[in-house]
C-alpha cells in the first residue's frame, strides 16, 4: 500500500469520526455511555488533525479527495471487491488490477480505488 493511499484512508477514517462528533444525538449517546472528553470542542480538535494529515499529501491529491467527497457525500476511497468498485459497484477493468500498489481511480465514478 502506498503512503499516499494510507494517508487518504486515514483521512477518510477521520472524516467518519468527525461526522459522528458533529451529530448532536450521537454525542449525547457517547456522553450517556460514560465517555468523557479532554476537549470542549472535539470537532475542532479532529479538524486540526485533518489539516495536519492533509499536509502530508500533495495539494492536488487532497483537493481531488475533497472534490470526490463533496460529490458523493459518502466516501472517496473504496476497496475493489471481487473486481467491482466498492463505491459504484461497476466492474473495474482488469488491466487496472495489476497495479495494486498504485493509486487508481474508478473509471466509472472517479473514487479512489484500492485492492483489498
Amino acid at each position: 500500500m502506498s503512503d499516499e493511499l494510507k494517508i487518504l484512508l486515514e483521512l477518510q477514517h477521520l472524516d467518519y469520526m468527525i461526522k459522528d462528533w458533529r451529530n448532536a444525538s450521537t454525542r449525547k449517546e457517547f456522553r450517556k455511555i460514560g465517555f468523557q472528553l479532554e476537549t470542549d470542542n472535539p470537532v475542532e480538535m479532529l479538524l486540526e488533525k485533518r489539516k495536519k494529515l492533509a499536509e502530508r499529501i500533495n495539494k492536488p491529491l487532497f483537493q481531488m479527495y475533497e472534490r470526490i467527497l463533496s460529490r458523493y457525500k459518502d466516501w472517496a476511497v473504496v476497496p475493489v471487491i471481487d473486481g467491482f468498485c466498492g463505491g459504484c459497484f461497476s466492474k473495474v477493468p482488469t488491466e487496472l488490477s495489476g497495479q495494486r500498489k498504485v493509486l487508481n481511480n474508478c473509471p466509472n465514478c472517479g473514487r479512489f480505488i484500492y485492492w483489498d
Binding site: H13, D20, D74, V78
Partner: protein, 151 residues
C-alpha cells in the same frame, strides 16, 4: 439486542500481554486483522483516544471507531489480569476491554446501540469482579449470556 450473540470465541483474548495503550489496541485489532489495515485501524482508534480516553473507569475501556476495513460490526474482548495503563478517567489500570469497529454505513445505528449495551453489560461484569472468573472464551460468552438474561 443481545451482546452475547455478537461475541465469538476467536475474538476473545482473556490473557492480553500488552502493557501500553497503542500495543493493546494492536493486540485487540489483530484478532480480526493482521495486514496493513490493522495499523490504519490503530491509528484511527488512537485519534479517538486523543479526544479523551475511552477508559471509562473501574478498569473498563471501550475503544471504538468506524472503518471500511470491516463490512460488519466487529466486537473484540480483551482481559488483562495485571491491568494496562490506558489513561482512564479514574487513572486506574484497565482490566477489561471491549473493542468495537463498525462499518461507516450503518443504517440501524448498530454501532451506538452496541456501545450502549457494552457499557451496561460491563457494569454487571464488574460486580464482584465477575469478569475474572471465565477460564475460556466460551465461558466468557456464557457469563455474558447469563448477565443479559437477568437484565
Amino acid at each position: 439486542m443481545n451482546l452475547y450473540s455478537l461475541l465469538k470465541p476467536e475474538r476473545i483474548n482473556l490473557d492480553l500481554t500488552s502493557r501500553k495503550k497503542q500495543d493493546v489496541l494492536l493486540e485487540l485489532v489483530s484478532s480480526f486483522r493482521e495486514d496493513e489495515d490493522s495499523g490504519l485501524l490503530v491509528s484511527t482508534l488512537l485519534k479517538r483516544e486523543d479526544l479523551g480516553s475511552t477508559g471509562i473507569g473501574k478498569g473498563v475501556a471501550i475503544p471504538h471507531g468506524r472503518s471500511l476495513v470491516v463490512d460488519k460490526l466487529e466486537l473484540v474482548v480483551g482481559r488483562s489480569t495485571k491491568g494496562i495503563s490506558f489513561d482512564a478517567i479514574d487513572k486506574k489500570p484497565v482490566h477489561l476491554f471491549f473493542l468495537i469497529v463498525a462499518p461507516p454505513q450503518d443504517p440501524g445505528n448498530q454501532y451506538l446501540i452496541t456501545l450502549g449495551r457494552v457499557a451496561v453489560v460491563c457494569q454487571e461484569l464488574l460486580k464482584r469482579k465477575q469478569y475474572e472468573k471465565p477460564q475460556t472464551p466460551e465461558e466468557f460468552i456464557q457469563l455474558v449470556k447469563e448477565i443479559e438474561g437477568n437484565l
